[in-house]
Structure formats: structure tokens, C-alpha cells
């Protein structure tokens, strides 16, 4: 029986803005990671603010770094 492919994307909340479109995020498991904007959040010059909910894809090699792939509404 095949396994459902694991999604690398997690929900997180922006807690701090950093230079160069980098952000500090808090994951749902309370881990704090450093992530940069990627995809639509970067292409549209979307400015994220602390408190925004986003979806982040963590690096497989360094679980404290990631890329923000989507802004979650609401």
C-alpha cells in the first residue's frame, strides 16, 4: 500500500520582521524558525506583519530555516 506523500508545508505565525524579506515565525508546535518570503508572498511585494498566519516549507537539512510559500487568510 502506497503512502501519502508527506507535505513539507506547515502553518506558522509571523512574530518578527527582519531585513531582506526575512521573518521570524512561530510554528504550531511552538518552534521558532527563520524564514524568507518566496513565491507569491515575494512576487507581489506582500508585506507581512507580526500576527499574520502563513504556510512555511522547512528545509530538510536545517529544520530552523524555511521559506514562506503562502499567506493564510483570516
Amino acid at each position: 500500500m502506497s503512502e501519502a506523500a508527506r507535505s513539507a508545508a506547515l502553518a506558522a505565525e509571523v512574530i518578527e520582521l527582519l531585513p531582506s524579506a526575512a521573518y521570524r515565525l512561530r510554528l504550531e508546535n511552538e518552534d521558532v524558525v527563520l524564514a524568507h518570503a518566496a513565491g507569491p508572498t515575494k512576487a507581489n511585494f506582500l508585506r507581512l506583519r507580526p500576527g499574520d498566519r502563513v504556510r512555511v516549507e522547512l528545509s530538510p537539512r536545517d529544520k530552523t530555516r524555511g521559506r514562506i510559500i503562502e499567506l493564510l487568510k483570516g
Binding site: M1, S2, E3, A4, A5, A8, P60, R61
Partner: protein, 256 residues
Amino acid sequence: MIVRKNMAELEKMRASGLLVWKILDTLKRMVGEGVTTYDLEVTAEKMMAEAGARPAFKGYTTQAAGTKFPFVLCTSVNEEIVHGMPSQKRVLKKGDIVSIDTGVQLNGYYGDSAVTVPVGEITEETQKLLDVTRESLELAIEKARPGNRLFDICGTVERHVTSNGFTVVREFVGHGIGTKMHEEPQIPNYVDRRSENPRLKEGMVLAIEPMVNAGKPGSRVKPDKWTAVTEDGRYSAHFEHTVAVTANGPWVLTRP
């Protein structure tokens, strides 16, 4: 972490693998016009009980489905990719292809394998789909040697499939196997550079399973939460073997 098995453990997995092969071999011969997918289920369940093995699929839960899988087989007909449910209403007819996927747990160790079988005469295009999928599995098995990397397996399947004009399913993947049905690593049928690419070592056991669509790669899961079908409704084929990485090269546990 990828669990490696010693020779004694591999022998146990061999026993599970051979039982799976025996069941699939019997079911393969049963397939024909007018047979229902539930007939296959009944035979498989009986064979497992006779061998004293526990069906690996029955009662298996995933987070995504949230329900127990109620059968010992996955039977996926035509546009169904994987995890189809056997049914008395599903009567096989000429031109169908049916993927039969099953697994057992024997002496604590799992075996897992699948074949796609044509029903009567099928179109040339469908025959090519089956051939390419089977070939991609064989080519990938050849890569299951110590020193190679996981992406050698993934890339071999992807290259063979796409160069023949078909597509691989991305939402479902192969897996490591041992005392659990699904162990590390996940084995996609394409190279996913975002994931890790571990080196293969002696004693690793992998369930390699190309799932190949005739049309577009997209899939969706039906409201029963299990059956995965192609988005465009075109046929999909699926072959699988449990393969041990040994010093002498790949050892396919699920065939004689």
C-alpha cells in the same frame, strides 16, 4: 532514521514476501471477465488466514483518511490509481485493468507488493502503460544497491515513465518497510530536490511502487477517503515489489 535489517530479519521478511507473491499469483490467474473485485478479496483473506498471517491493510489507518481501511486488498480498476476498495458491485469487464495491491505481517515483519492485470483484450495504449510501468519498476530495482542513493531509484522511474510519454503520480509514494508497513524513507517516483537523498546501505528494505498515469499526473481522493483516481479520468497502472538492499545487489523479496 532508516532501519537496517540483519540476515535473520531479512529471512523473516522473505517469508512474508513469498506469501504475498503466492497470493498475488493466485489472484492474477483468477482475474477475468465477470469476476468481481470482492471475489479476489475473499480468496486473499482465506489464503492469509491459512498461512497464519495478519493482513497488513485491514484496519490500517492514516491521518488523511481518518478511517480504518476495511479490506485486505486494494483493488484499483482503470482510472483508480491506488487504495481502491474491493466491491461485489465491481464486475470486471473486457478492456479493464485492475491493480491488486496487498500486504501481510508474518512473524512481525511485513511484505508488500502489487501488480496490475489486464482483463481480456486491452488497447495497445493501455498495454504500453502496463509495460512501461513494469519496466520502470524493474529498472528501479536494479538501482537498489549499496552505495547508490535514493534519488537513483526515484530518477530511474521518472525518466523511464516521462520518456515514454506517461506521467508519475506525486501525491503517493513508496516507502521503507520492516516491522512497520510504512517506515523511513519515503520513496517518491520522481526526484524531489526538497527532500533528503540518503545513500542506500546493506540491510535497507524498500517498497518501490511506480504509479503511472496515461494522461495528466493529477489525482484526487474520492469521498470514501481512500480511493485515489486520476483527475482526467484516464487509466493508471501500479506495480510494486519489496526489495532488500544486499551486498550482492537487490534482493526482490516478493517474488520467487
